[in-house]
């Protein structure tokens, strides 16, 4: 009831009952009740209207059928209206038309009210209004209810009659049978036709023809049996049983409604013929005939009613099943590119739905075929273990490729009461996967592009620095006069910067070649320690702010390596150490060895490198996120070159660092000349 709180005060959350509609309905039904009663009186007193009719006792009591029908078609809370109306009309009719004493009319007609009330109430108690006559159970309950009702009514009625002088045991059977038959034959007919009318069903042409044929047959038989004067009056009543096949036809093909209609028709014909002095009833006394007819109707009607109910039940079940299946198919059919399959322990597909996957020939025709009959051979082979796993209770999801198409497959167990069942969901995801791969490739390309343009701007930035000196000094020399000494000085500056630029370009080209695997190395015997000293002295970087220390291992054996490349390594590492310790400090170069490797290292006391960047610095195109990012000069290629050279020789290069304390760069080289271009 949480919703109630959100409504404005004073407004109920229940729908307001439409009083006027309900009232209108009740009045309408009351009207029909009255009409029905009047019609039945006219019928019962047909002799008053049609002189040719000899009055015959009714095998059934029509008003009973009318009121019972009304009760069966309406909600319980309105019954009091109809029962009251009925009672009043009956009493009035009894007193006026049949000249009954008021006390008798009032008393005996109470029976007529109690009886339908009992019957309908009992029936409604066990069967909802929507399900009347649609199952065997419902029909059985109905028969029981109206039988009980008739017993009660007959007892009361006969007792009233007894008070008026007629013997009890004489009145009771007639009353009982008459009311029972009205309830069993006529009432269902009325109810079934009224509800059919409400549903407004359209029968097919064939069905219509069949119904007409049946009707014709009944009328024909009726004319034959009831419409002629019978030769042998003793055997005549048995002719009634000729109608049984037709009644069976009605029951099986047209359900309870068909049966009841046919039965009512037969009854009417029988009564009409009796009233016309024709037919099989003429021989014996009228009460004997009546009895025969009534027992016939009861004996044949009740079982056929049950049969008809069974037939209807089965029909409804089939309809429901079909609807359910259609619904499921419709739902499954909305799967765009795939299929849903159900299979059993024999790997046979019990159900196949969806648009199918035409590329592998998977269509609704799969139903009934086994796994190996449905899929191409390799697919079936890959699917089989999954099928079996699903039957054992495992759910599996995977991709399957067939003829360049990729399918996403899910095989799951299905909870099924009787047999282990598996479900397969199959979807063609080729385009999706391709798009995913493309997207990934694109992302990678974009990343590469971005990195490349970043690097290009870094490099061009670096190139411009030596160019600045060259540009400025050459312009000055060209346009102004300087003393010769200064001219020489400026020329030297230009030269140096040109060389610097040249080196930068050379580094870049070297790295490109090394990375492309196009670099060759020239091997010779090399003493690493000597190389270190030479590198420091000859082309060493500006070490004026720093103290250069050496820790060279004198036992270091001779290496087989490329002299120039190793020199480049040392120079780069030294330059790096100085660059990353702008505040000065110690820069130590060391060598050592073990059994298989020579080890070179350079340590500085600079700003250090964050742990996350220790690998990144060996990659080109990277810019460190350190605070000094913008100010550290260089192409960013020094370290990548060092690593490339180390790896070319079969060795390694890496860095260790502590932020704010310093860094150590390591290079190892194999002692036994394992070098070779990659």
């Amino acid at each position: 009831m949480a919703n109630v709180a959100s409504l404005p005060p004073g407004i109920s959350s229940e729908p307001v009952p439409r009083i006027s509609d309900d009232l209108r309905r009740t009045l309408k039904i009351t009207f029909w009740l009255v009409v029905g009663l009047l019609l039945s009186y006219i019928y019962s007193n047909a002799a008053l209207v049609l002189p040719s009719w000899i009055e015959a006792p009714d095998p059934l009591f029509p008003p009973q059928a009318v009121i019972l029908s009304v009760l069966l078609l309406t909600p319980m809370r309105r019954w009091w209206v109809y029962l009251t109306t009925y009672y009043v009309i009956q009493v009035v009719q009894g007193m006026v038309l049949a000249s009954l004493p008021p006390w008798y009319a009032s008393l005996s007609n109470l029976a007529n009210v109690i009886e339908p009330l009992v019957g309908a109430a009992l029936f409604r108690r066990f069967v909802p209004q929507s399900q009347q006559f649609t199952s065997l159970r419902a029909v059985a309950i109905y028969i029981g209810s109206v039988t009980l009702g008739s017993i009660v009514g007959a007892t009361w009625g006969a007792a009233s009659r007894a008070l008026a002088g007629a013997p009890f045991e004489q009145s009771w059977p007639g009353w009982f049978l008459g009311d029972l038959l009205a309830s069993l034959v006529l009432a269902p007919t009325i109810v079934l036709w009224v509800t059919a009318g409400r549903l407004a069903l359209r029968p097919s042409r064939a069905r219509l023809l069949e119904a007409v044929a049946l009707l014709g047959a009944i009328l024909l038989l009726g004319w034959l049996v009831f419409g002629t004067k019978i030769q042998d009056p003793d055997r005549a009543p048995a002719l009634l049983y000729l109608t049984v096949p037709l009644l069976l036809w009605a029951a099986v093909r047209f359900g309870p409604r068909g049966l009841m209609t046919a039965l009512s028709l037969v009854t009417v014909l029988a009564m009409a013929s009796a009233a016309q002095n024709l037919g099989p009833f003429l021989g014996a006394s009228s009460s004997a005939n009546l009895f025969t007819l009534q027992l016939f109707l009861l004996g044949i009607g009740v079982p056929l009613f049950c049969l008809a109910a069974l037939v209807r039940e089965r029909q409804l079940a089939q309809e429901r099943l079909q609807q359910s299946e259609e619904r499921h198919r419709a739902v499954v059919g909305t799967l765009p590119h795939g299929a849903v399959l159900l299979f059993g322990p024999d790997l046979r597909h019990r159900f196949a739905g969806g648009h199918g996957v035409p590329e592998i020939g998977l269509l609704e025709t799969i139903e009934g075929r086994t796994l190996h009959e449905s899929f191409p051979e390799e697919m079936a082979k890959s699917l089989e273990p999954h099928y079996r796993a699903a039957l054992a209770g495992a759910s599996e999801s995977f991709d399957l490729t067939q003829d360049d198409r990729t399918y996403e497959v899910e095989v799951l167990p299905v909870a099924d009461a009787d047999t282990p069942t598996g479900m397969v969901l199959l979807q063609d995801v080729t385009d999706q996967r391709r798009a995913e791969v493309l997207a990934e490739d694109n992302a990678q390309l974009e990343q590469l592009n971005r990195a490349k343009s970043e690097w290009v701007s870094v490099v061009s930035h670096e190139f411009r620095t030596p160019l600045t000196g060259i540009q400025a000094f050459s312009e000055l020399l060209r346009d102004e006069a300087f003393p010769l000494e200064q001219v020489r000085e400026f020329a030297a500056d230009i030269n140096r910067e040109a060389e610097r630029l040249s080196r930068m370009i050379g580094d870049l080209l070297d790295l490109e070649r090394m990375e492309a695997g196009q670099m060759t190395i020239t091997l010779a015997e090399v003493d690493l320690n000597v190389l270190v000293e030479e590198a420091i002295m000859s082309s060493g970087p500006d070490t004026s702010h720093h103290t250069l220390l050496r820790e060279l291992d004198p036992t270091l054996p001779v290496l087989i390596a490329d002299r120039d490349k190793l020199t480049q390594v040392i120079v780069n590492l030294l330059g790096n150490a100085i660059k990353y310790s702008p505040d000065g400090g110690d820069v130590t170069v060391g060598t050592s060895c073990d059994t298989s490797l020579a080890h070179l290292w350079v340590r500085d006391q600079g700003i250090g490198i964050p742990a996350d960047d220790l690998e990144a610095i060996f990659r080109r195109y990277t810019r460190l996120e350190s605070g000094y990012n913008v100010s550290i000069k260089g192409t960013g290629l020094g370290l990548p070159i060092v690593r490339q050279i180390a790896e070319l020789h079969g060795g390694q290069a890496w860095a260790e660092s502590e932020a704010g304390v310093g860094s150590t760069f390591h290079v190892t080289l194999p002692l036994k000349g394992e070098a070779g271009a990659d």
């Binding site: 701007s457 061009s460 411009r464 620095t465 600045t468 000196g469 400025a472 000055l476 346009d479 913008v630």
Partner: protein
């Protein structure tokens, strides 16, 4: 005659700048990084600072901000020198409130002209 502070960590460029401007009659001071440059500016109260962007310890932008933060240094005009001609850098430069932005490599003629213009009160950008 004006006081100019030159700030650049590359000695060759510093030298080139000095030679370019030595005939102008202005008094020239040199610093080799941003921190030194800031100290120099505080001490000498120059009319113009000619500074590189990429420098250790305090880069060009940081130097500019430091100068602008000082109320007593508001009359100091700044020209940024940079090898980066990227639009974003240019915009960043101007957004820091500098008088001019020169891209390396520069021509001597262009350098002198811009220096004079800034010193004479013209502001570019």
């Amino acid at each position: 005659m004006a006081k100019i502070v030159i700030c650049d960590d590359d000695p060759v460029i510093t030298k080139a700048l000095l030679v370019c401007l030595q005939g102008s009659g202005h008094k020239l001071y040199v610093a080799s990084d941003g921190l030194e440059g800031l100290k120099l500016v505080e001490r000498e109260r120059p009319d113009l600072v000619l500074t590189d962007v990429a420098m250790p310890r305090l880069n060009g932008f940081e130097l500019v901000d430091a100068i602008h933060a000082r109320a007593d240094l508001h009359q100091v005009r700044i020209i940024l020198l940079s090898a980066s001609a990227q639009r974003s850098q240019l915009e960043e430069g101007y957004s820091h409130g500098v008088a001019d932005y020169i891209v390396k490599p520069f021509t001597v003629v262009d350098l002198r002209r811009r220096v004079e213009r800034v010193l004479n009160g013209g502001v570019d950008g």
